[in-house]
C-alpha cells in the first residue's frame, strides 16, 4: 500500500532516528512511503495550550502538505489524536485517514529483533483514551520476540502534557519519576512508548537520574533493544 508519512515536529527535530525506524518498518511490511516535503506540525502544542488561532495557522500546513487519497501514518499517538479528533473542527475541514503507526502495522510480518528482551510499555494518554489503541503496540513487541513485562500503572500519565511540562515543572518531573520507578521495578531492558512527547520527557528525566532506557516503539521494532 502507498502511505504518506507524517514525521511530526518532535520526530523531525528531536527523534529523527525513530522516524527513520518507522519508515523502515513500513517498508518491511511492504508499503511504499511518500514523504510530503512541505509538512510541518499538527498544531497540537498551541491547541492544547488554548491558542486556537495559532494552532490553526500551523495546522493548515498539514492540510496543504497531505492528500486525502492515501492513508497518513504517524509515529505519535497524541499527534494522531490531534489530527483525528481536533483538526477537522479547528479548520472546518473533512477528516483525513490518519493512522497511528502501531495500529497501522498491527498484524504485519516483521523480523523478530527482540528475542530474550524484556520490555515495559507505557501507554500514552491520548493514544489510549482518545484513540483506544492499547493492544496493538504490545502485540507487535511480543511478535518481535520480546517479553512485555507489565507496569503496575501503564495507563498513568507520565507528566509531559505539552505546556504542562513547563507550567508545572515540579509536578511534571515528579510524575516522570513515578513512571520511571515503575519501569525500574520491572527490571525491563527498556521502557517503550509510541509517543515522542512522553519519550522526550521521560528520557530527559531518566538521563538526569540514571533511570531506565526510554525508547520509541518504532526504534525497538526496527532495530531491536541493544544491551
Amino acid at each position: 500500500m502507498r502511505v504518506q508519512l507524517f514525521a511530526t515536529c518532535l520526530g523531525d527535530l528531536v527523534l529523527p532516528e525513530a522516524v527513520e525506524s518507522a519508515a523502515e518498518l513500513l517498508q518491511e511490511a511492504g508499503h511504499e512511503i511518500i514523504f510530503p516535503e512541505n509538512q510541518v506540525c499538527c498544531g497540537q502544542p498551541a491547541f492544547n495550550a488554548g491558542h486556537r488561532r495559532a494552532a490553526a495557522r500551523v495546522a493548515r500546513t498539514f492540510v496543504r502538505a497531505f492528500s486525502r487519497d492515501l492513508p497518513i501514518v504517524v509515529p505519535s499517538g497524541s499527534c494522531a489524536a490531534m489530527l483525528v479528533h481536533h483538526m477537522p473542527s479547528l479548520l472546518d475541514v473533512e477528516p483525513y485517514d490518519v493512522r497511528e503507526l502501531s495500529s497501522f502495522l498491527a498484524g504485519s510480518a516483521l523480523a523478530p529483533r527482540n528475542e530474550g528482551r524484556r520490555i515495559a510499555y507505557h501507554d500514552s494518554c491520548h493514544m489510549l483514551r482518545e484513540l483506544h489503541i492499547r493492544d496493538e503496540p504490545r502485540a507487535l513487541l511480543e511478535a518481535s520476540g520480546a517479553e512485555v513485562v507489565p507496569l503496575a500503572r501503564p495507563d498513568l500519565c507520565c507528566g509531559f502534557g505539552g505546556t504542562f511540562s513547563i507550567r508545572q515543572p515540579e509536578i511534571s518531573v515528579s510524575m516522570a519519576d513515578d513512571k520511571l520507578a515503575d519501569a525500574g521495578r520491572t527490571a525491563a531492558d527498556a521502557l517503550v512508548t509510541a509517543d515522542p512527547g512522553c519519550l522526550m520527557h521521560l528520557r530527559a528525566r531518566s538521563e538526569r537520574t540514571n533511570g531506565p532506557h526510554v525508547l520509541h516503539l518504532a526504534t525497538v521494532l526496527a532495530r531491536g533493544v541493544k544491551q
Binding site: 509538512q39 506540525c41 491558542h51 498513568l156 500519565c157 502534557g161 505539552g162 513547563i166 508545572q168
Partner: protein, 459 residues
C-alpha cells in the same frame, strides 16, 4: 465568590509545598488508589456499567435542561410539606439567610454534616462572626475544623491526617490524651460529638439530591451524623445547589447507584436518608423548622452554554481519585473547596477565569477524569475549552500570546519552519537560561535538536 478566588501562582506554589511533604504524598496516593480500587471492583459487579452511566448522564442532562420547571415542582413539594425554600443567587445571600435564621431562633450552637456547598459559601466564618458556634460532625470534617485547614478531598476531607495527627487534635479538645489507635480515636470523637448533637439548636446539612416530586432532601453518609444533624436540633437548614434536583424517586435510585459506587465502591452508603418536611403533628422527633437554601452562586450562568455538562457533576470524587496531578498537588492547591479535575473546571467558572487562571492548566489533559466520570462529563475537554477562553478573554499573558503567535507565523510555512528550527539548534545550548527551556531544565535535560532533521536525512 471571593471564597474560591486564587492568585495566578498559588497552584504551583502550594503544589510545590505538597510535593515536599512525603507523608502527604503517600497519604494521597494510598487513599485515592484505595477509593478508586473499591470503585473499580463495585463497577465490575454491575451487569452493564455503560448503560447505567448513560442513564445517569441522560437524567442529569434532561433535568438541567428543564431546571426551572423541576425547581418549581421541588419548591412546591417542600412547602406543601411544611418546609420553606429560600432561593439565593449568591454566596452572600445564602450566608445572610442562614445567619438570620440562627438569630431568629436564638441559636448558639449549630452542628453540620458534610456539605461542600456550605464550604463554597464560606458558612463557618459567617456563623462565627454572628456568634454562633458551628461544629462539623462528619469525622473527617471535624478533624479538618480542629486543625483549622480545608478539605483535601471532596469526599474524604481529611485523607492527609495520620492517626497520630488525629490523636493530637482530639486530645486537645478537652485536654484528655487519646491513644493513637482507631478504636480509641473513634470513641473519643463520638463522645465529643454526642454532646454537640444533644446541645445544638440548628442542624445544617448539604443535599446530595433533592427530589422534585416529593420535595425530599436526600443525604448520603456513612457515619449517621447526617441523621442526627437533621433530626435532633429544633431547626434544620439544608444547603442545596440548584443543580442537585432529580425529578422522581425512580431517577434518584439510578443516581444513588452511581454515586455510592463511584465515591467509595459501596452499593449504597451506610445511611441514605430521605427527609421530607419538618416534624409533623403527632410525630415524636424531627426538627420544628426545615429551611432549604437553594444556592445558585453562578450555576445558572452555565446553563445552555458550552460548560453546561459541569452542572451534571454529582461530587463523587472519582476524578480526584484517578487524577495524577491531584495525586501530586493535593486538594489544597486548587483552593479551599473544590479540587481535582472537577475543581479545576468548576472553580474558574464560578469565580471568572481571571480569578483562577492557573486551574485550567493544572492538568496534563491525560483524560483519566473523563474516563472515570460516572455521568460522563468530558472534564479534560472542558479544561481545553477553558484554556481557549483564557486566550480569547486576554487573561493569558501578553508575553505568552505573542510567543505563540510568533511561533505560529514561523511554522505556518515550510521555509519558516526550516529557518526557525535551524536557528533554534544554533541557540539551543543557551536554552536552559530563560523561558520555557529554563522551566524544562528543572530536573530534565534539554532534548537536543538533531543536527540533521529527519527531512534532511532523506536521499
Amino acid at each position: 465568590m471571593s471564597e474560591l478566588a486564587q492568585e495566578p501562582d498559588a497552584f504551583r506554589r502550594r503544589a510545590g509545598e505538597a510535593l515536599e511533604d512525603d507523608h502527604l504524598q503517600q497519604a494521597i496516593a494510598y487513599s485515592t488508589e484505595r477509593l478508586f480500587g473499591h470503585r473499580t471492583e463495585a463497577w465490575a459487579l454491575l451487569d452493564d456499567v455503560e448503560r447505567l452511566r448513560e442513564a445517569g448522564r441522560e437524567i442529569r442532562t434532561r433535568t438541567i435542561a428543564d431546571l426551572d420547571r423541576h425547581l418549581d415542582t421541588f419548591i412546591t413539594a417542600v412547602e406543601a410539606r411544611g418546609g420553606h425554600v429560600e432561593r439565593c443567587a449568591t454566596a452572600e445571600e445564602a450566608r445572610r439567610y442562614i445567619v438570620d435564621i440562627c438569630r431568629a431562633t436564638d441559636a448558639k450552637l449549630a452542628v453540620k454534616s458534610k456539605s461542600m456547598a456550605s464550604e463554597e459559601i464560606g458558612l463557618n466564618p459567617a456563623l462565627k462572626d454572628a456568634g454562633v458556634e458551628s461544629v462539623a460532625t462528619d469525622l473527617g470534617d471535624y478533624l479538618i475544623q480542629l486543625a483549622g485547614t480545608h478539605p483535601a478531598h471532596i469526599v474524604a476531607p481529611a485523607i492527609e491526617l495520620t492517626r497520630h495527627d488525629v490523636a493530637r487534635l482530639l486530645g486537645a479538645v478537652d485536654g484528655i490524651p487519646v491513644e493513637p489507635e482507631l478504636g480509641a480515636l473513634t470513641a473519643t470523637a463520638r463522645r465529643q460529638l454526642r454532646e454537640k448533637f444533644l446541645a445544638a439548636d440548628v442542624g445544617i446539612t448539604g443535599a446530595n439530591f433533592g427530589v422534585a416530586e416529593t420535595g425530599s432532601i436526600c443525604l448520603v453518609t456513612n457515619e449517621g451524623n447526617g441523621r442526627l444533624v437533621s433530626s435532633q436540633p429544633r431547626v434544620h437548614i439544608a444547603v442545596m445547589g440548584i443543580e442537585r434536583v432529580v425529578p422522581t424517586t425512580a431517577e434518584l435510585a439510578v443516581m444513588l447507584q452511581l454515586l455510592a459506587r463511584s465515591a467509595t465502591g459501596q452499593k449504597l452508603t451506610v445511611y441514605t436518608t430521605l427527609i421530607t418536611g419538618p416534624r409533623r403533628a403527632g410525630e415524636t422527633d424531627g426538627p420544628e423548622e426545615l429551611h432549604v437554601v437553594l444556592l445558585d452562586n453562578g450555576r445558572s450562568r452555565l446553563r445552555g452554554g458550552k460548560y453546561r455538562e459541569m452542572l451534571n457533576c454529582i461530587r463523587c470524587g472519582s476524578c480526584l481519585n484517578v487524577c495524577p496531578v491531584y495525586r501530586k498537588a493535593g486538594g489544597g492547591s486548587y483552593g479551599p473547596v473544590y479540587s481535582g479535575p472537577m475543581g479545576a473546571v468548576l472553580v474558574p467558572l464560578m469565580t471568572g477565569l481571571d480569578k483562577a487562571p492557573a486551574l485550567p492548566h493544572a492538568s496534563s489533559l491525560c483524560g483519566a477524569c473523563t474516563a472515570a466520570c460516572p455521568v460522563k462529563i468530558p472534564l479534560h475537554e472542558l479544561l481545553l475549552e477553558l484554556r481557549a477562553d483564557l486566550v480569547e478573554q486576554g487573561v493569558a499573558s501578553r508575553r505568552e500570546r505573542l510567543a505563540l503567535a510568533a511561533w505560529s507565523y514561523a511554522w505556518s510555512r515550510p521555509w519558516g519552519y526550516r529557518v526557525s528550527t535551524a536557528l533554534a539548534r544554533l541557540g539551543q545550548r543557551f536554552g536552559h537560561l530563560a523561558g520555557p527551556g529554563r522551566a524544562w531544565a528543572r530536573g530534565r535535560k534539554l532534548p537536543p535538536i538533531s543536527r540533521r532533521r529527519y527531512r534532511d536525512r532523506r536521499i
